[in-house]
Subunit: 346 residues, 2 copies
DNA sequence: TTGTATGCGTTATCAA
DNA sequence: TTGATAACGCATACAA
């Protein structure tokens, strides 16, 4: 990428054409409340319009010492979980004169730190870390360190998922949701469960497994760890994990499988079909998230609904209101069990 | 959102700590190749590291007269079509020291212009317009006008979808894909078609309908315009349009329905189910895009596969290579018919 | 209310 | 090779 000449009109051009000083032009266009006479203001606005003037945001940032850019870092923007959160952020940002810069780590935790550094360089006003925290102390330490620097520069950091970092956080009640789901499934009569668990280091996955086990325990049902199979947090991960699970257990040993997210559940459903099993007659299947795009698969997926757009919007609200905060705040978002056709009815 | 103090480390701090001049520090850190003595360079790098120095991108932008920001404007980031394209863009941008700013218009065409203005203010190096062009001359004129300004400022504009604007474009062969699909469906024995057509003003939708009709025509099959129902380019739009269509025709009058995208097709499939129709036994159903998240719905959708991530990557490549261009370039991306269970087999 | 002048952090031009 | 200094475009403290 080579350089391009940039011949933008500047505030000076506008001021010259309006026959006023730089300061007056600035005040008329961007300055705070009422300080410019109506006639001059009009002249300046006219000049700006006829010259197609757009304030140089970089220069404004330098002069003001702050930008109107907010960073959003996700694990994978193609994943509907994250694209929904992104939509929520974008909608909340709408009309706030904020531009959102996107980072997609491709599920490599260390890239989160890279993006944070890049966004500090850009002097982003805030960064929203949308993905699950990981159980990896070296990455977490590096991240914490970079967050400290970012914040000491006056930046705001908001996390979504677990309260692992000392920043404003939108906590997703994964554990609670999974517990409720387990309880509902036991109510439906299921007793012998398998779990497609996602990567062990991913706290979101782990919380869901823990919560699920907890819910079963309260109902007096035991979860055999042999039936907990880890796999990637993706459709293929679910497909593969289900294959492994089915290969490891005899027929009839399982009556219900919980995939820790909907995307994995869909992969699992395909694996079932390939194995000649019918859901829910031969096996119940449940997911987590209630991804809207997946709501119409057949049989419809029993899951835990998460208001993902609201999650994104809430994160943005934390950013927008961060000036008044004294210490890290927490917003809790609960999931709601939704029983559908992928599990049997009572 | 109130202001925050920003106490960033500046290049001056680094220079001072290294005991060199500003110029030397600049050259050692960001300047071009080999011009600083090894010892001084080392001192500067050490100082920068120990101070956690991150260059102020705004200041660099001012001094250099250009930024490393690229804008990406989509209709709806939550739509898997766009999130896949976004993923392609992000991946291509990876490691290029480019930051991507996201705009989501929520399907309001005029907001595209707003984002373009905002990104011009930000002095984005380029903007990628990812959504379908619309048949709305007032919006198109406004957009064209703003593009002129953006380009005269040295900015690069790349469009995805139709070649409606005088800019580098990744053309998606909607017409061709739909024609091939029609041909394949006729080969399967279908004769009486319905179409769920999306908004009439949206060129992507319109091209697909035209191509489909064209393909049918070549095979000697007529498409009754009464069976072409318009609706929103969404799941609900497909659901509703299918309901309308089913209400308007008698049983057996239709043997196959083409929804102009997969998301609508999914809604249509639900409408069929609700009407007691089985796909493909009672009615064939086809979509367009081959959205990966929807690949596992049952019955699997016959569709036209579009390499969406590649589309995004190609758009970014056009941005990256724009310096050498003399006149607007075109990259054509073809779709490929994929026959699955939602249409009968031969 | 309006204008003048300074500084924001960096790159790049010019001397040394 | 290194250093001093003038831009870059804007906001704002201060002066008028």
């Amino acid at each position: 990428m080579a350089e391009q000449p940039r011949g933008s009109v500047t505030l000076m051009d506008v001021a010259a054409r309006a026959g006023v000083s730089l300061a007056t032009a600035s005040r008329a266009l961007n300055g705070s409340t009422r300080k410019v006479g109506d006639d001059l203001r009009e002249r300046v606005l006219d000049a700006a319009r006829s010259l197609n003037y757009a304030p140089n945001a970089q220069a404004q940032a330098m002069a003001r010492g702050r930008t109107n850019v907010v960073g959003l870092v996700v694990h994978d923007i193609a994943d509907p979980y994250f694209s929904s959160i992104a939509a929520g952020v974008m909608e909340a940002a709408e009309g706030q004169h904020v531009l959102v810069t996107l980072g997609s780590t491709l599920r490599r935790p260390d890239r989160e730190v890279d993006y944070l550094v890049a966004m500090r360089g850009q002097r982003s006003r805030a960064v929203i870390l949308a993905g699950s925290r990981m159980d990896d102390s070296s990455v977490a330490d590096a991240l914490r360190r970079e967050i400290d620097i970012f914040e000491s520069d006056g930046g705001i950091v908001v996390a979504i998922s677990q309260k692992q970092l000392p920043v404003d956080t939108v906590v997703i009640e994964n554990r609670l949701g999974a517990r409720d789901l387990a309880s509902s499934l036991v109510d439906l009569g299921y007793r012998r469960f398998g779990v497609l668990a996602g990567p062990d280091a991913m706290l979101t996955a782990r919380d869901r497994v823990h919560g699920f086990r907890e819910g079963l325990g309260r109902a007096g049902v035991d979860l055999d760890s042999a039936y907990v199979v880890h796999g990637a947090f993706t459709r293929d991960g679910g497909h593969q994990a289900m294959g492994t699970l089915l290969g490891a257990v005899g027929a009839g040993e399982l009556d219900c499988v919980f995939a820790v997210n909907d995307v994995m559940a869909v992969g699992a459903m395909v694996a079932c079909r390939e194995a000649g099993l019918t859901v829910p007659q031969d096996l119940g299947l449940a997911g987590f998230d209630d991804i809207s795009t997946l709501r119409d698969i057949n049989p419809a997926l029993t899951t835990v609904r998460l208001p993902l757009e609201k999650v994104g919007a809430t994160a943005f609200e934390l950013v927008a209101s961060a000036a008044d905060r004294t210490k890290p705040r927490t917003r809790r978002i609960k999931g709601e069990v939704v029983l559908r056709q992928s599990t049997r009815s009572t």
